[in-house]
C-alpha cells in the first residue's frame, strides 16, 4: 500500500501473457477500502490479449465502483499496445509515478 492509505499500488513487471493469467488476476484485486489504485506497469514491455482483458476488466470495474485508477506506463512498445487497446483513452495514464500519485491524491481529497 502507498503511504497514503487510500491509494493502493499494484505493480506488474515483464511480459504479461496467458501463462501468468492467475498471477495477474491475483495481483489485480481490491480490498474495498481503497479509493484510488495506482497500477504501476512501468516495467511491462508487452501484454497479450488475455492479460489485457484482465487489466481492462479490472480498470472498468474500479471505475464503476468509483475507485480512481491511474496507470504508469514507460516502455514505448507497451505504450503503443495500450494506445490501440483503448486503455490510454479510457483511463488516466502517466509516464511517471509522481504524476499518477498526484492525480490520485487529488481524487482522494476531493
Amino acid at each position: 500500500m502507498n503511504s497514503n492509505a487510500s491509494i493502493k499500488t499494484i505493480r506488474l513487471c515483464g511480459e504479461l501473457e496467458i501463462g501468468r493469467k492467475s498471477e495477474i488476476r491475483d495481483a489485480l484485486s481490491r480490498s474495498g477500502e481503497e479509493r484510488a489504485i495506482l497500477i504501476d506497469l512501468s516495467e511491462v514491455t508487452y501484454a497479450d490479449s488475455v492479460a489485457l482483458t484482465e487489466l481492462l476488466r479490472f480498470c472498468v470495474e474500479c471505475q464503476r465502483s468509483g475507485v480512481a485508477v491511474a496507470l504508469v506506463i514507460k516502455t514505448p512498445q507497451f505504450a503503443r499496445v495500450v494506445q490501440y487497446a483503448g486503455l490510454a483513452s479510457a483511463f488516466k495514464t502517466f509516464d511517471n509515478s509522481e504524476g499518477a500519485v498526484a492525480y490520485l491524491s487529488e481524487h482522494v481529497q476531493r
Binding site: Y46, D48, Q77
Partner: protein, 481 residues
Amino acid sequence: MTRRLPTPLVLTLAFLVLLVGLLLAGGLLVRSILTESFSNAEHIQSARVLVATALRAQLDEESAVRGYSAVHDPLLLQPYYEGRRTLPGLLRGTGTVIERLGVRDALPYIDDAAATNRRWLVRVASRLLVARKRTHVLELRGKVLADRFRADIGAVDQALVRREVLGDARAQRAIIWANFFALAAVLAVAAAAALFTVQEYRLGVRLEQERAEAEEQRRRTAELRAAYDAEKRIADTLQAAFAQRVLPDMPTVRLSATYVPATEEAKIGGDWYDALQLSQDRMLLAIGDVAGHGIDAAVAMNKTRQMLISYALIDPTPGRVLERVNTELVTENSPMITAVTGLIDADTCQLSYAVAGHPAPVLLEPGRRARFLKAGSLPLGIDPNTSYATHLVQIAPGAMLVLYTDGAIEYSHDVLEGETLLLQAIESAVQNHEDDPATAIRVGIFSRHRVSDDVAILTVHFLEPDAARDVSEASALRRSA
C-alpha cells in the same frame, strides 16, 4: 529381457542368507561342545569304574591276606593273586584315561596309589604270607598303607567328579546357547518374513500406484488426442471456409486476403475478416480477433461476425455497428474482442471506419509513405457504455488500405518493431504491384519470423480510374464467358 529384482527383496534375501550362515555356525559350535562333553562324560564314567574296580581289587587283596593269615586256607588267597595280577593294569588304565581327559592333578595320586600298593605287597602282604600270623606291627602298617591307597583312590575319584561337574556345566551352557540360537532363528525368520511382507506390500502398493498413474497418463493422452483431433477438424473446417471465401468484386475496388493459424498444430484462433457488398457502391469491411484460443474463441468469433453483419444491414455506420455489437457481447459475458469495421463508398472514394481496441488500419496513398490511421477505443465486451467514434477518410485513387490482426505485428512482442516491418511489407507489396498483396505482405513479414499467433490480413486497393475500367471490362468478359 532380464528383470531386475527390486532392491528391498534383494536386501531381505541377503539378510536371510547372512542369518542362516550365522545360525549354522552357532549350531555347529554348540554341536561340537555337546559332542565333546558327552565323550568326556563317557570317559569319566569309565575312569570312575576303573577306579572303583581298583579299589575293590585292593580290598579283595587285603581281605584275602587277612583271611589266609587267620585260617591258612590257600583257597582264600585267590582274590589276592587276582588283585596282584589286575591292579597295576587297572591303575595304568585309569592313568591313561585321566591323562586323556586332562585331569592332570589326579595323576600323582594314581602313581602314589600304585606305589602304596606295591609297598603293601612287599612290606605287609608278603610278610603275612610268610609268617602266616598277624602281628600288631604288620596290622598297623597294613592299615596305614591301605588307608593311604584308599585316600589316593578317593582323591582320584574326587578329581574325576569335579571334571564331570565341569563338563556338565559346559554342556549346560552349550544347551542354553543352543536354545538361544533356536529362539533367535525363530525370531529372525519371523522378522524376515514380516520385513519381506511389508516390503512386498510396499512394492505392491508402488506397482499399483505406477500402474494407476500410467493408466491415468494413457487416459489423458487419449483425451488430449481426442481434443486435438476435434480441434484440428474444426481448425481445418475454418481454414477451408476462409480458403473458399469469395471476396466481393467491385469495379473500383480490389480485395485480397490471407489467414494463417498460429501454428501447424490445431490451435483455433479467434481471428477473422469479412467483406460484404451492401449495395452497388458500398462495401462493408470487418476484421477482428477474439482473445484466447480454442472452441470458445471460435464460437465467439462466429457469433460476433454474424452480429456485426446483421447490425450493418440495419445501420452500416461503423461506430453504431460496434456499439450495438458491444452491448450484446457485454450482456452475453463474451470474451474480449478487438475489431475494425469499415464502410467503403466506391462512388465518393470515402472510407468510414471505427476501431474497438484493434491495431490501427494502415493506409498507403500514391506518392506518400504508408501510415497508421487513427485508432484507440476499448475492445468489445468490456464496458457496455463505450462509444465508438466513426472516422471518415477521403481515399486517393490508387491507395491501399490494409486491415490486419495483432499476429502481424506482435510476433516478437515488440509492437513498434512489428509495425515498422508491417509498413515496409505493405510498401514493398504496392511497389511490386503484387496480384495478391495480402499474401505478399504476410510473406514479407514472416520470411524472417515464425508465426506465433493467428494472422489475418485484408487489403483494399482503390483502383485508378483507368485500371478500374480495365478491371471492369475484364470482369464483364469473365461474366459473359
